[in-house]
């Protein structure tokens, strides 16, 4: 820090130490603010309904209700919804990663008239509000009889995602030219070059893209809400709407427990894949 360039007398050193103390205090407090809400969600999931309804807030559950998590799991078909979410996310993330890598290769290594314009449209379409296309898309899928199937996710996956295309383009553009030249001379098609030479080199981007796409899909609420009937729907939709007693009153403590179980997988995936994920996020920012 700044201390190194200052003459070694006592006053600045004390000031530096006080500065550090302030910095750490602020950082710890901020981190508390950012992490605190999770803690509260978990605590809410461990209380009884009576404690949750009590008027002066009960900070801690008097008796920890671990069984809330099991109850939340059993009250609805949690596993079934989780399976739906997982299937959709896997279909989408796999397809969109492959198709985006394919398209990204085209933009990075190949040339043709109109490339600039197409790339401009691709980047521009990143700014296109999804919601605006989603509602008419729903009506079209309804006409095609594809509502309540997972086909829309297949199509969305095959169509590549601009954000991920950009990610792959940046990566492929950075690889040396020699990589493909020899293969071209040997008469290999670009498909083979992509599949056998470029793809095996790109594990970091592939995994980043997969994780990003998986989280998008896992977190998506409106598309499954629109396109899928209740029992085919995803965990995101189920957690939001199905935690009610037979009398129709919402069960807040079970819903809190369920949301913990819904969010934790994504947080774990993030923590495991952190490096690639963060690298993926930051490349786009540097456009």
């Amino acid at each position: 820090m700044t201390a190194t360039s200052l003459p070694p007398n006592a006053a600045p050193r004390v000031r530096v130490r006080v500065n550090r103390l302030v910095l750490y205090t602020v950082l710890v407090a901020l981190t508390g603010l950012f992490i605190g809400p999770f803690g509260w969600l978990i605590l809410s999931g461990l209380k009884t309904p009576a404690e949750l309804a009590a008027s002066p807030v009960h900070w801690l559950p008097t008796q920890v209700q671990w069984h809330n998590f099991a109850d939340a799991f059993n009250l609805i078909d949690f596993l079934g919804y989780a399976r739906n979410s997982l299937i959709i996310a896997l279909i989408y993330a796999t397809l969109v990663t492959l198709s985006s890598a394919w398209v990204g290769f085209g933009f990075a290594r190949l040339d043709a008239p109109g490339k600039k314009t197409l790339f401009g449209i691709l980047i521009g379409s990143m700014m296109l509000p999804q919601m605006i296309t989603l509602l008419p898309t729903y009506l079209i899928f309804a006409k095609l009889g594809m509502v309540d199937t997972y086909w829309p996710w297949v199509f969305w996956g095959l169509a590549a995602a601009p954000y991920l295309v950009f990610l792959f383009r940046q990566f492929f553009a950075g690889l040396p030219r020699e990589l493909e030249e020899a293969a071209i001379v040997d008469g290999c098609g670009y498909g083979t070059i992509f599949w056998r030479i470029f793809l095996p080199q790109s594990w970091p981007v592939l995994s980043a893209s997969f994780v990003i796409a998986f989280t998008w899909s896992w977190g998506d609420y409106i598309a499954p809400q629109l396109l899928l009937s209740t029992d085919r729907s995803t965990l995101a939709v189920a957690v939001m709407s199905t935690y009610v007693t037979s009398a129709g009153t919402p069960v807040a403590n079970l819903q809190a427990a369920a949301s913990v179980m819904y969010v934790v997988p994504i947080l774990l995936i993030f923590l495991i894949a952190q490096r690639g994920f963060v690298a993926g996020m930051s490349t786009t920012g540097l456009k």
């Binding site: 360039s5 910095l23 602020v26 950082l27 981190t31 950012f34 605190g36 809400p37 509260w40 969600l41 949750l52 309804a53 009590a54 398209v103 290769f105 085209g106 190949l110 043709a112 490339k115 197409l118 379409s125 700014m127 509000p129 999804q130 919601m131 605006i132 296309t133 509602l135 008419p136 199509f155 969305w156 095959l158 169509a159 590549a160 293969a183 001379v185 040997d186 008469g187 290999c188 670009y190 083979t192 056998r196 998506d220 609420y221 409106i222 809400q225 939001m240 807040a252 949301s259 819904y262 994504i266 947080l267 993030f270 963060v278 996020m281 930051s282 490349t283 786009t284 920012g285 540097l286």
Partner: protein, 331 residues
Amino acid sequence: MTVDQIPATGRTGPVESTGRTAPPQRPRISMTARRHRAFYLFTSPWIIGFLLLTVVPMAYALWLSFTTYDGISPHWSYVGLGNYTELFSDPQTWNSLGRTGLFALTSVPLSIIAGLGLAVQVNRPIKARGLFRTLLYLPAVVPPVGVGLTFKALFDQNSGAANGVITLFGFDALGWLADPYARYVLLMSVLWAAGNVMIISLAGLQDVPRELHEAARIDGASAWRTFRSITVPLLSPVLLFQTVTGVIASVQTIMPLLLSPDGTTAGVTALPQSNYLYMMHVFSQYFALGRYGYASALLWVLFVLILIVTGLIFKFTSGVVFYNVDPEAKK
């Protein structure tokens, strides 16, 4: 690099790695033509997908916006600009549009300031830097439904921690999720994800050449001055990107829905007034009233507005945004 499929072009046996000679016989079409064809082959999934999943739906929505289509009834009619004239005379359109504008105007700058501030702090040589970065970024990964439910638990009138804290100080418990406070909860739920801006700015910060800061310090510039005159200009492309995507995201946020007591699209009409944003108005026409034609008109108006706003943002920042780092990065 296994090249096991050598096409039958007369070349047999192992390939010598002598390299640069033109391949025999094979290309009936030129190399360039082959590259062009390959380019379109490779980009076609996106091109076709873009046409079918974006252009067609938007054109369809445009057509619907001139009709009274409701999805069920076979009796719908072409009403020309009827939906548009109704939309502009509907006070709900203007009110929700105003709230959306206000929401974007507060949430986007605040997120960027918060994210940039955090980035600068966790870019300093501190202990447990990685841990701070991870923990501050963590909420940005939480899916919208998770954010909605977490904030509902936090701001619940009875069981929420927010009321727990303020009653400790002798204030009365507030109905956070109702008017007029709901808008602040919405804002806080967005700021919770400031880690997004942080992580992207952090990558930008690491590209700021160290010498620039050192030179400024030798010239006697204060920390604030260095930040303002060196860090911010160098980060400006990143900040512009954040602003544009932030505005677009805030315009189509579904968070008010997830924060509402009911929390589903069915309850969209029961939202607190202050969180009844433009997209909520679209949903209420669409889901609650089944007015697909009218909702499509609302969406097209929003689309045009977004185009205008992003155009203006680019126009007004063109002199300020400073591309330097790498000429390739400038698009």
